[in-house]
């Protein structure tokens, strides 16, 4: 057994906070989560299972191991939440006991403990330091020019004549603002076409979600405070989250940070667009003659139970044939793009996205459609290899609405030197 590297008190606090939740899993030990877990499906290493993430807490409690011993294990998670909903404790009796197996929160808390103990990983350390400097994630890498950062945060909107401020704003996710700009451009133009009044943020920093996922709690909170203050200063009442990770952060972390003071309405883009189509405010008249399958983004499907709106949207596009895979089967699907995994373990992300495309390939489709810009880079990379195009659902909506989107769909991987 190794000795704790730093303040043993923090580890004790972590154990104290999560012991009961850990025991609820430890006592069960059923492992129904295991074959659902995207990382486990690739590594086949029991250290990377949700079961282990909980058992480690009990092992720490028993003095068997320290956070240092399991730090690398806790990197092996995309925070997709599949394990939580497949857990018999959640699935069958969770409502009755008002209990949900919390694995994503355990992983985040363990990573926060790693940061506090100086055990955080080099790639994440660099990524978050750059995010702190730029105020946006370094999604274009750090080599050469760095067109990310505040000077360029609205470059994607060139020529769209979008106002700044107003009661409703569209929050442009970092990956969409700098890398896959076709996503932001499509979204803004779809909203314009449907007559939704909205503006952009005055000074848009990263939502802070990735920092929270990687354990940098203070940084995440500082970014959240900035953004909320910015919204308040320009009278924002409603935020349109165009990306599922941002949506999780705004609807779960921000309320946790600010309590009842957080009175901003948060709207997810796929639900909003589905409403616009239903209400007849958005007309999809240009046929897209392609056969597609839909990738349920983990944070929409597994964590927020949003799976009907995107299917409604796709079925509203003329000419489009949807080869659907039901959302429960997709509990075990993932792009590998979440939870900071591509920064630290890009080879595992690649295997997960290859596996996702192999499943799409079996359906004999032209295209895999996602609704999460963070999934689209690894999926597109894997799609290139098997000849399947990867698009965002709002990009397809824009095309069917007759919009010339512009922007870039991106191709290359980010490079973050160590």
């Amino acid at each position: 057994m190794s000795q704790s590297s730093g303040n043993g008190e923090l580890q004790r606090d972590f154990v104290e906070k999560w012991r009961e939740n850990g025991y609820n899993c430890f006592s069960s030990g059923h492992k129904f989560c295991r074959e659902v877990c995207p990382v486990m499906q690739v590594t086949r290493n029991e250290n990377h299972t949700p079961t282990a993430f909980h058992a480690n807490i009990i092992a720490m409690d028993k003095g068997l191991l320290d956070i240092e011993d399991v730090a690398d294990d806790y990197v092996h998670c995309t925070q997709c939440g599949g394990c939580e909903i497949r857990c018999p404790n959640t699935l069958f009796v969770g409502d009755f006991y008002q209990a949900r197996t919390e694995t994503v929160k355990v992983v985040r808390a363990a990573r926060a403990l790693m940061v506090d103990e100086g055990l955080d990983r080099d790639g994440w350390k660099l990524w978050n330091r750059l995010t702190d400097e730029l105020k946006n994630e370094p999604v274009l890498g750090i080599e050469g020019d760095r067109p990310t950062g505040q000077d360029h945060v609205r470059d994607w909107a060139e020529g769209l004549d979008l106002p700044v401020g107003g009661e409703t704003i569209m929050f442009a996710d970092c990956e969409a603002a700098f890398y896959r700009t076709s996503n932001t451009r499509a979204t803004a133009q779809v909203l314009q076409k449907a007559g939704v009044e909205f503006g952009l943020m005055n000074e848009q920093w990263c939502c802070g979600g990735p920092a929270a996922e990687m354990g940098y709690v203070d940084q995440s909170r500082a970014f959240a405070e900035h953004n909320l203050a910015d919204w308040r200063a320009s009278g924002v009442k409603r935020v349109i989250a165009i990306e599922p990770h941002d949506y999780i952060h705004f609807t779960e972390d921000y309320p946790a940070y600010f309590g009842e003071d957080f009175d901003i309405e948060v709207v997810q883009i796929v639900e909003l667009v589905a409403e616009l189509i239903k209400d007849g405010r958005l007309k999809l008249e240009h046929p897209i003659n392609k056969t597609v399958t839909y990738h349920d983004p983990c944070r929409l499907n597994k964590r927020k139970n949003i799976h009907e709106a995107p299917r409604y949207i796709l079925r509203s596009i003329p000419g489009l044939v949807l080869e659907d895979v039901d959302h429960v089967t997709q509990w075990s699907y993932c792009s590998g793009g979440g939870g900071g995994l591509p920064i630290e373990k890009p080879e595992i992300t690649a295997e997960i996205s290859d596996m996702r495309l192999a499943r799409a390939k079996e359906l004999d489709v032209d295209m895999l459609v996602s609704a999460c810009v963070w999934s689209e880079r690894p999926l597109a990379r894997a799609g290139d290899e098997v000849g399947i195009e990867v698009a965002d659902i709002i990009e397809l909506v824009a095309e069917s609405a007759g919009i010339e989107v512009g922007g870039s769909r991106g191709v290359s991987q980010p490079t973050v030197s160590r």
Binding site: H30, K31, F32, E35, E46, N47, N89, D95
Partner: protein, 503 residues
């Protein structure tokens, strides 16, 4: 000749393992890898966790690697413990003397799907649900469906000779595994089946080694490949639940159903009063039943539409003949579909004062004849109550009985009593109490002509010391086989009193 616990390997042995594996991250000696492969879902002496840690873990991909690891273990006199899913309800995959855990999860390939001779050949690390996701494309399935269907792996199914919930219709693991490749305790790689090539299902050449190398809980070798049965996907499924105000009526009803000659009968289950009470604890997920309900009979048919349609009429009549009341279509479809998840839930643990405590699941799984079940039920329930009262960490979660024999639903039953254990509170005294409880329950099974275990195995204290009694004259034969095949006692030592082979 009993090896002493190996909690640490010589550096040279680790280097040899690394040379055999030749892949980064496939030989693990860190504390996390070892701690997370020292237990299974069955009650675990968490207060003595450290004593169950292996010295190293290997993640092989080929039979040749497994063979070389086992040969090395013989040379170094280090125990080897096979581990597939680690989802067993005995301690087959729990290291009792440290050593090297051979974790086969990376051997999860589907090697061949043969739609002509109807077999699928797989690695031992594949899960049945995942396998069936693939097989679904061919309109066939591999019908080995234990309670752990979403997570257990083929290698463990063979090592435990598992029970399938659909076994009365489609057979159990032993019937569904046609042949397999196994690395013997001395490292030789052999293939065992009924005889002939790997896809032959019935032969009378030689000894039937397939049965010898199933159900040994990893004490006779490590399975590295298996050829499994493919079954046409049933066209129709029909499930029905009947509620009773009296256990004996339920018991008689089951006998009527299983002796009716319905060939599509996949299984019949009785829930006793305590089990109904346990399921009522979760009154949102389980469809509530009126207070008069004392027992439930669940049953299901699988086959062609023509077969199931006609048989369902007979079944509905037989289910009601002794006063059973059909509980409705909603419960039948929903509850049968969720049968894999219903068995035990830690959140249902209750202390004597009614408060909730997270509890682990201990499941006694005797094989018993139909005629003795009511008497055994009374004795088991009384024994369990005694321990519930004495220790304050146990909870009676009631009993199920399942039709036990392949293709012959009459005669004998897998009879289980589920007992919740508040593991967090275990100490040596309470652990000894649990072992005593197990032993008392197992003795009742033997006294009534039963077997201690239908599917989980008998490697644990409480069961293990009774195995010689159950085996009778066969026990000495077992010891001779063990000694002949594993001269150095390196293959999962300390299990099932097999150390006697070396005394």
């Amino acid at each position: 000749m009993t090896a002493s616990p190996t909690v640490e390997l010589d550096r040279a042995v680790v280097a040899d393992l690394e040379a055999i594996m030749d892949e980064p991250g496939s030989v693990l000696t860190d504390v996390s890898s070892r701690a997370n492969r020292s237990r299974v879902p069955a009650p675990f002496p968490v207060h003595r966790w450290a004593e169950h840690m292996p010295a190293a873990v290997v993640l092989p991909r080929t039979a040749e690697q497994v063979s070389e690891i086992v040969k090395l273990a013989n040379r170094a006199r280090v125990p080897v413990v096979p581990r597939a899913g680690g989802t067993g309800l005995n301690d087959g995959a729990v290291p009792l003397r440290g050593g090297i855990v051979v974790d086969v999860k990376r051997m999860n390939q589907i090697k061949e799907i043969d739609m002509i001779d109807r077999t699928v050949t797989v690695g031992p690390g594949i899960n049945m649900l995942k396998l069936n996701e693939e097989l679904g494309k061919y309109h066939v399935f591999h019908p080995d469906t234990p309670a752990s269907y979403p997570c257990s792996l083929v290698g463990g199914r063979i090592a435990c000779s598992g029970f399938s919930l659909l076994g009365s219709r489609f057979g159990h693991t032993r019937d569904l595994v046609i042949s397999f490749e196994i690395v013997l305790p001395t490292g030789e790689i052999i293939r065992v089946g009924d005889g002939g090539g790997k896809k032959i299902r019935k032969s009378s050449t030689g000894f039937h080694l397939k049965h010898l190398f199933m159900g040994h809980q990893g004490t006779l070798g490590i399975v590295t490949e298996a050829t499994l049965e493919l079954v046409p996907k049933p066209e129709a499924e029909f499930a029905a639940f009947f509620a009773f105000d009296d256990y004996l009526r339920a018991h008689r009803t089951v006998h009527g159903i299983v002796t009716s000659g319905i060939a599509t009968l996949a299984g019949t289950v009785i829930f006793d009063e305590k089990k109904v009470e346990y399921l009522r604890r979760d009154d949102e997920a389980f469809i509530p039943m009126p207070p008069w309900v004392n027992s439930v009979v669940a049953t299901a048919l699988y086959g062609t539409k023509a077969e199931v349609s006609e048989a369902s009429k007979i079944l509905m009549d037989l289910g009601r003949r002794e006063g059973g009341r059909y509980t409705g279509d909603e419960m039948a479809v929903g509850d049968w579909a969720s049968r894999h998840d219903r068995y035990a839930n830690p959140l249902h643990g209750r202390l004597a004062d009614g408060s909730v405590a997270p509890m682990s699941w201990h499941c006694e799984d005797a094989s018993l004849n139909w005629s003795v079940i009511p008497q055994v039920r009374e004795e088991w329930t009384a024994i369990t109550q005694k321990y519930v009262d004495r220790y304050g960490i146990f909870d009676n979660w009631g009993m199920y009985c399942y039709t036990n024999a392949s293709y012959k639903p009459w005669g004998d039953y897998l009879v289980e009593i589920d007992i919740g254990i508040w593991e967090e509170k275990l100490d040596d005294e309470k652990w000894a109490g649990w072992v005593d409880l197990k032993r008392e329950i197992a003795k009742v099974s033997l006294a009534h002509g039963g077997s201690i275990s239908s599917c989980h195995g008998t490697t644990r204290a409480g069961d293990a010391e009774l195995v010689p009694e159950e085996m009778g004259g066969g026990w000495d034969v077992m010891l001779k086989i063990k000694r002949a095949l594993d001269p150095n006692n390196i293959m999962n030592p300390g299990k099932q009193m097999l150390d006697q082979a070396y005394e």
